[in-house]
Symmetry: C2
Subunit: 250 residues, 2 copies
């Protein structure tokens, strides 16, 4: 529906998500209570933090013994050495470690601050990790939401990442189910009949960013629904991760 | 209206934009023809390519004499030396020049492929440059659109940029008028009463990316309207450009 309008709304009133919670059930309940109607091909964008909490991806800091490296870095920059230790454990490779900022490549291949480890909106004394497998999280949520609403749906698990050269975070897609995340327009013609050159669009990241606009800044609205966007295919969030050997900035 | 829904639509039927065209007038005419109604605080996201063409930011390649460096690079990677020359003229600093890819910092401070110089959807034998001052472009378009529609509006001039570590392009904001582009949530409390830590959201980039979803991939729809997003303030697209001395990746 490229000629049509897109509508997005945040899913309010879900309450705090705890380990073991039925996240899809909470989402479905909150949507029904809101009076919104879910339609075929609607896309649910779900904040990673809610997914991780439901999956129990929470670390109790008093169980963490910091390494020497974690202690040094924490001391130098006034950080909690146990949090630094958790970050290093989630890190496959340190991309930058400078001026108190730690940019890490996670086990999944994501490059982000603190390997995605976060203590905002985490219960006191804990930090929250990224989901073990965000695509699988998205797929499981998709199955449950499709069962709840009785139609074909798409799911994006999103998180806020910084980026080089530009200020501020934007939401991007970590996990994707039922959506082609990167749309390749190469081979299409432009208005003058030439082949379009660099026209691979990270649609799933744009969906995640768009959803942030209705999710609010302090994550009280961890889910958004996007209606009317035309898309196709299956896909994996891994398609959004550039292979290290093709990357000029690692 | 963080509790409310956002609606976005593409502005169809504008036709090809040429140097000297009254872009705001074309936009207003196409919106009126579509039957859509513009409301107070609606945001117009306008593709840089359309803005640049209307502003005459077009270079005739047969007027360009390539330098030795441009010729070498073009020969090595099978490119048009005149296009490379134009890219180098638009470049303040080369960030990466490797494997046929040229990532440049433009005069404005944007870091992007080919310094924003592009020949897709450009008339044959030409390339299109970024606007001289995208904030000023946005401000002028805003004034004209406000006059046409009779209410307060926001304007974003957008372009598709790649990014390190992730595949695909997303639309970002080059110029901004009437919108606070970076929303700083530091100082707000999270659900557990702690201060939110890294919570500076690049709202204008998310607006630009969202708009791409209704603008289509081959730029036949160079304008989108976003309705129902709550925002405040004035602002400049320059707030989205990270200062070189704070950037770990230059």
């Amino acid at each position: 529906m490229e000629t049509g309008a897109i509508r997005m709304f945040g899913v309010h009133g879900m309450g705090e998500v705890r380990p073991g919670d039925d996240l899809a059930g909470m989402i479905a309940g909150a949507v029904r209570a809101s009076g919104e109607r879910i339609r075929e091909n609607d896309i649910f964008v779900i904040a990673q933090k809610a997914v991780s909490k439901a999956e129990g991806r929470i670390v109790q800091l008093d169980s963490v013994e910091p390494s020497a490296m974690a202690r040094r870095w924490a001391e130098e920059y006034g950080k909690d050495a146990r949090v630094v230790e958790v970050i290093l454990r989630e890190t496959r490779r340190v991309v930058r470690m400078d001026r108190g900022i730690l940019i890490a490549e996670t086990r999944h291949g994501f490059v982000c601050a603190n390997a995605g480890v976060d203590n905002s909106n985490a219960p006191p004394g804990t930090v929250v990790l990224l989901p073990e497998d965000p695509d699988r999280s998205a797929e499981l949520l998709r199955e449950r939401l499709q069962a709840a609403f009785g139609g074909r749906l798409g799911v994006v698990v999103s998180d806020s990442f910084g980026r080089p050269w530009r200020e501020g975070l934007t939401n991007v897609a970590l996990g994707v189910a039922g959506i082609e995340p990167v749309v390749d327009c190469r081979g299409q013609k432009d208005d003058f009949g030439r082949n379009l050159q660099v026209t691979v669009i990270a649609v799933a990241d744009e969906l995640a960013g768009a959803a942030e606009l209705v999710m609010g800044k302090n994550r009280k609205v961890p889910v958004a629904v996007i209606q009317g966007f035309s898309y196709k295919g299956e896909g994996s969030g891994r398609a959004l991760v550039r292979a290290a050997e093709l990357d000029l900035f690692r």
